[in-house]
Amino acid sequence: MSSAPANQVVIEPSRGWASLGLKDVWEYRELLVYLVARETQGVYRQTALGLSWLFLRPVLNMLLLTFVFGRLVGVKSDDVPYPLFSLAALLPWGFFSNAVLRGSRSLVDNMHLISKVYFPRLVIPLAGAASGLVDLAAAFVVFFTTLLLYRMPLRWEMLWLPLFMLVALGFALAAGLWLATLSVKYRDVTFAVNFLLQALMYMSPVIYSASIVPPSLSFVYALNPMSGVIQGFRWALLGSGEAPGAAFALAAGLVLVGIVSGAYVFRRTERTVVDII
């Protein structure tokens, strides 16, 4: 016990744009797993249906959309049964909206932790975004069951899915980082997030097909990463529509910029977060 420990901690004010401290985040990777588990387990404790809610939510959403937009409104679904058509979009959208919602609330919600103990704060929005992956996994189970019921084939293009998921996760993370940072100083964000998500849903082909977008608008439309992600999901899973093109690559680039800038802004706010909230 007499030898000096190698891991010396130096505490001093950080100036300007601090480093991201990703090494520290890696050290605490187990905490990330526990926080995701807490988020999903804790929510469903003492509910009669328990974890079945994870599967029920996409099913109920799908039924609702099919009834209203498939039957009543009669939205064209590119010759694919509307339940599958909507479910293919609900997969990434359900994941994305949950991830953004949790990510944006994560700092304020976990204040009791942040104000009591040190850990790399980046873990918190990361866990918020990552907990959406649990919803995504459950939704995939629902999707493939439905696919089986309609006797539709599995396709080679499905191997592209991880790429689209990565973009959706990245977009959710970027949005979560920025919104969580802003919500520390401006609680208004909490109210704005719901509205923003709703607006973004209408700007993405969740309930309708991307083919109805007029060509003059299609480039601007494709700059929304989620529109490319949803088109990609439909193309890969059902073979409907076209694979997203160059505009999607540009949108993915924007997502990357969003993540990096969001992470730095987050780190800058992080050091005084306890003094503000």
Binding site: S2, P5, Q8, V10, E12, S14, E30, L113, D275
Partner: protein
């Protein structure tokens, strides 16, 4: 040997507090309300003005050797908690720096990271991860943690069904098994029963004998003296002293005692009061002693006021209200209730002295503020002075019971008890 376990160099922490509001008339108030969001936005960008700044810590430096248990003492708001928050990296200092050799563990509040819906077992892992332990490390110490917490039977029960005692025991057990090189402890001993307090102190003692370093922050001077060889005294964010604990504690106490146990105004014109009454002298002291003498729970007190009565036919009376540090009124006593002199007649103008005698074994330990009320015709308050006197009641350790935390209650009377056997089981 490395020379230190913890070294703090010129550490300062500045807080920005809201500026004192300026009074405004109706129209301005409406405008102000409308402008508020924009002012708020603007205020987050401009540097803080002088009156918005509070220095919670200013230029604090000290060094702690490995294996040393160091105490931090000081009044509320002296900067103790801020210091711990900086050392545990919850918030950043404004300037200066601290170097810690090794892993830091903090017990700022037990139960950090517990989720009420999860079971005891799940929470041990979760809380451990929050504190920076690896899964394998927690698994290795799991049985030890459970045994220390004495909650074997309830491992698979959600912690929301735990009694508060069980909850605290489990939480402390996880934190205590973190085995950091430097352990930061803040008032955790204020929770739990006496036996558990003893156990926690024992565990902290063990930590120290294993060559680990403990920084212990407490209001409880008995506990600090029992655990720490050396202590730091913070006052208004600055170091007021640093040295051997017994010496420092006595300096700290004498400074606290002299705070405001006596006041004197030589001239009626400059004294607090009004056209009916002016104060001349106030003091609280041990009966037969001076205001500079220490006061313990066993000390009988004399609370004295001298005042000029200025109106001709006054039936003036004095009331003292005893207020504890927690802002609870312990009791109020009035001169008209049990007066040794007959004061039923009107008193001619002049200088009067009223002395109130407080018996021993009545007040609880801790800081007390006295509010002075001057009443006329046995009811109408004509003058009031809050915090007219302030004194500290010490725990001499003569009474049995909780040694390391204040017994609850506004007063602590010594009462008669009997216990006898009255039958078979």
């Amino acid at each position: 040997m490395s020379g230190f376990a913890l070294r703090v160099e010129d550490l300062s922490k500045r807080y920005r507090i809201g500026a004192p509001p300026k009074s405004a008339n109706g129209g301005q108030a409406v405008l102000g309300r409308l402008a508020a969001p924009f002012r708020y936005l603007a205020s987050t960008f401009r540097p803080p003005a002088e009156d918005e700044i509070l220095w919670a810590l200013r230029g604090v430096s000290f060094e702690v050797r490995p294996g040393e248990v160091i105490g931090v003492i000081g009044r509320n708001g002296a900067g103790k908690s801020t210091l711990l928050k900086i050392l545990s990296r919850i918030t950043e200092p404004t300037s200066g720096r601290a170097i810690i050799a090794g892993r830091v563990g903090s017990l700022l509040e037990v139960g950090t990271g517990f989720h009420p819906e999860l079971t005891g077992r799940e929470n041990i892992y979760l809380s451990g991860a929050v504190l920076g332990m690896r899964r394998t490390e927690i698994a290795r110490k799991f049985d030890e943690i459970v045994a220390f917490a004495e909650t074997e039977k309830f491992l698979d029960t959600p912690v929301k069904r735990y009694s508060s005692g069980m909850y605290v025991r489990l939480a402390f057990a996880v934190a205590a098994h973190l085995e950091p090189e430097v352990l930061l402890v803040d008032e955790v001993l204020a929770v739990g029963d006496a036996a558990f307090q003893q156990k926690c102190l024992g565990k902290m003692g063990n930590v120290a004998t294993q060559g680990r370093t403990v920084v212990f922050v407490s209001h409880n001077l008995v506990a600090v003296q029992g655990l720490c060889q050396r202590a730091i005294w913070l006052h208004n964010g600055r170091m007021a002293g640093c040295g051997e604990t017994a010496q420092l504690v006595s300096e700290y106490l004498s400074a606290a005692r002299h705070a405001n146990t006596a006041q004197m105004w030589p001239e009626p014109s400059a004294a607090p009061g009004n056209d009916k009454v002016r104060l001349h002298r106030l003091s609280v002291r041990p009966r037969g002693g001076t205001p500079a003498d220490p006061i313990t729970m066993e000390t009988p007190l004399a609370v004295e006021v001298e005042y000029w009565s200025l109106s001709a036919d006054a039936h003036l009376g004095i009331r003292w209200r005893f207020v504890t540090e927690q802002q609870a009124v312990a009791f109020t006593t009035a001169s008209s209730e049990l007066s040794l002199e007959n004061d039923s007649q009107p008193l001619p103008p002049g200088l009067y002295r009223s002395v109130c005698y407080v018996p021993s074994n009545l007040l609880n330990e801790g800081l007390h503020h006295l509010t002075l009320l001057v009443v006329r015709n046995a009811g109408q308050v004509i003058f009031r002075l809050d915090e007219a006197l302030t004194f500290d009641v010490l725990n001499s350790g003569a009474r049995p019971g909780f040694r390391y935390s204040r017994e609850q209650g506004a007063v602590r009377p010594l009462l008669d008890w009997t216990t006898q056997r009255v039958g078979d089981v």
